[in-house]
Assembly symmetry: C2
Homo-oligomer: 344 residues x 2
């Protein structure tokens, strides 16, 4: 397939994808018959440019890296806003990578629905719309015969959704359990190595794993969003934010860590959900003491892991990165390759 991409937002994730696309252009063409050009970019801060024949993305990356605006690109139409970029360009696939607002899902929600209604595919790493309305948007995409991909919202480029949908196809998955947030796992790993919660958080902030306001991570909100998504998409059960019991890691003390150690166990922030025999869903995010032979217990640092309980194979676990600029950019390529496969 010949992808004509438009980026809505062009931050680190969009740039990460662009680097991968440039570096792997030949491999993608040869191995997957995957062809691409970027025809438009619209970013609230960095400006906009559109050229129906395709932009030189090396030039664009150089502009951005030099701290310049995309508008300085030598040719093309400038100044189009995100909606016009979606509606009025010849792009056939929209890469939606604006900032995330999990409360409203906006502005991504509007971008994604607009694109689908225009008959354009969307790939996005934006968690907001997926937490809010994934099933509705997937239904809309189906009715418009386009694709809405969001592999990156769960474990960045670690193919958690793709694994469930394709590699484990034919299984019935009735529950899952995972380490779905790298920041808290990094903090817990540091505490295990002897640091206090405050020291561990400070180090996580220094390394860029935790934000200045770490609430979203340490109170389990990020993991909660992923539990909602996995329940909706993999278990096939509609639940919302309010249906998940939540407890963060802020109450775990050095003493708790030591006590677990003496029991041969390890604290992990676990997100999980299961379909009960009556069809209802039990879902939670909370710290759990795992025995050391649990596959999730040895997952250390910022790494993520997810165990699906399948009917044919029993537990199947995937372990990989859960964040990162290039890793999350790669998740978008997983989605694009799925579209490519569908349109062969």
């Amino acid at each position: 397939m010949q992808f004509k991409l438009a980026f809505i937002g062009f931050g680190t994730v969009g740039q990460g994808l662009t680097e991968i696309l440039i570096e792997k252009k030949e491999m993608l063409e040869k191995k997957f018959d995957f062809h691409w050009r970027v025809v438009a970019i619209s970013d609230v801060m960095k400006g906009s440019v559109y050229d129906e024949n395709g932009l030189n993305m090396n030039t664009i990356l150089n502009l951005v890296k030099a701290g310049k605006k995309i508008d300085e690109y030598p040719i093309g139409t400038k100044g189009m806003n995100s909606i016009d970029t979606i509606k009025k360009t010849n792009a056939n696939t929209i890469v939606e990578v604006t900032y995330t607002d999990v409360k409203t899902g906006e502005p991504a929600l509007t971008h994604i629905k607009t694109a689908i209604n225009e008959g354009k595919n969307v790939v996005s790493t934006n968690k907001g719309p997926v937490v809010k309305q994934s099933l509705e948007i997937l239904e809309l995409a189906k009715s418009k015969k386009v694709h809405y991909g969001f592999e990156g919202v769960v474990l960045a480029g670690t193919p958690a959704l793709n694994l469930a949908k394709f590699s484990l196809a034919g299984n019935v998955i009735k529950s899952f359990k995972g380490i779905l947030n790298g920041t808290t796992n990094y903090i817990l790993t540091q505490m295990e190595a002897g640091k206090s919660y405050e020291e561990a958080l400070k180090k996580a902030q220094e390394l860029g794993y935790a934000e200045a306001d770490p609430t979203g991570d340490v109170e389990g909100l990020d993991a909660l969003g992923k539990v909602v998504i996995l329940t909706n998409i993999v278990l096939g059960k509609k639940i919302t934010w309010e249906d998940v019991k939540r407890e963060g890691i802020t109450k775990i003390s050095k003493e708790d860590i030591e006590k677990a150690k003496s029991e041969g166990k390890r604290w992990k922030l676990i997100g999980c959900a299961e379909i009960r025999p009556d069809g209802s869903v039990k879902a939670s995010v909370r710290p759990e003491k795992l025995p050391l032979d649990d596959p999730l217990a040895s997952v250390s640092g910022a790494t993520n892991a997810l165990t699906y309980n399948t009917d044919e194979l029993g537990p199947v676990t995937i372990v990989g990165p859960g964040a990162g600029r290039r890793e999350t950019g790669f998740a978008l390529l997983i989605d694009l390759l799925e579209i490519n496969n569908k349109n062969k």
Copy 2:
């Protein structure tokens, strides 16, 4: 797609697949537009039957479970040998599940090549032909525009090959490392719990994990075959049996286990391979002492695990069952679903 299946061999794995196909018939039709019937079975011990309109597989399973011959099936053509069943029936897909001979690959090798030359897809859990000639057979299948699937030869139904081919597509994988044999991992886990090698082996034999002659497992031959397959298929480098350094677990003593424990480590039989900078391959099967925070260290019992080192995501590990009648049968369904996807 409408599959017309012929089973060559009808032991536990073929029966396992049959049970899954019967139980999941409706789900497979609805969710994947996957339709099947079995038109023929040819088994050296159990007999043969062919009906171009399809066999009642519940009847067949009942005959087999009662220890009766398949020839007692009320209608159809009886007595066809495997080659005639491949060539002269209306089957479009051959399920090759005869016994494994890793030295010659026969009789499976002949069955598989015959089927492909007849323009029929083949799915097989038979390791022999894959170790011997996977790349050549895949080339032949490509030229005949049919599919040769063998997901089950590595980690049974745990989708190791499918993960690398689809979910991790776009990555370059230059090395892997795994626990590729459940029997030895079970023995090592038992030794860790205090048993001697002899006691652990005896228990593994009682549970059916190890054969009366356990050489293939404990000397690392089974794992070696999987290293060859993964190197050929995932790393894309042709190597053979002789290119892999091998050491089994028979020399590991109770003292070695205790010493590792005191160092915070654990013995595992590790199969691995990597492409060196000059393009050559370094491959081995040997016991290694892993630190407890290695994702492979916590994999206990008969479970298998495999870590791919990818260029975009770093290490990605999958953990799941590596054996079992139904699990291996399920691997054939993974291959059939891939064919179904290709032919949509």
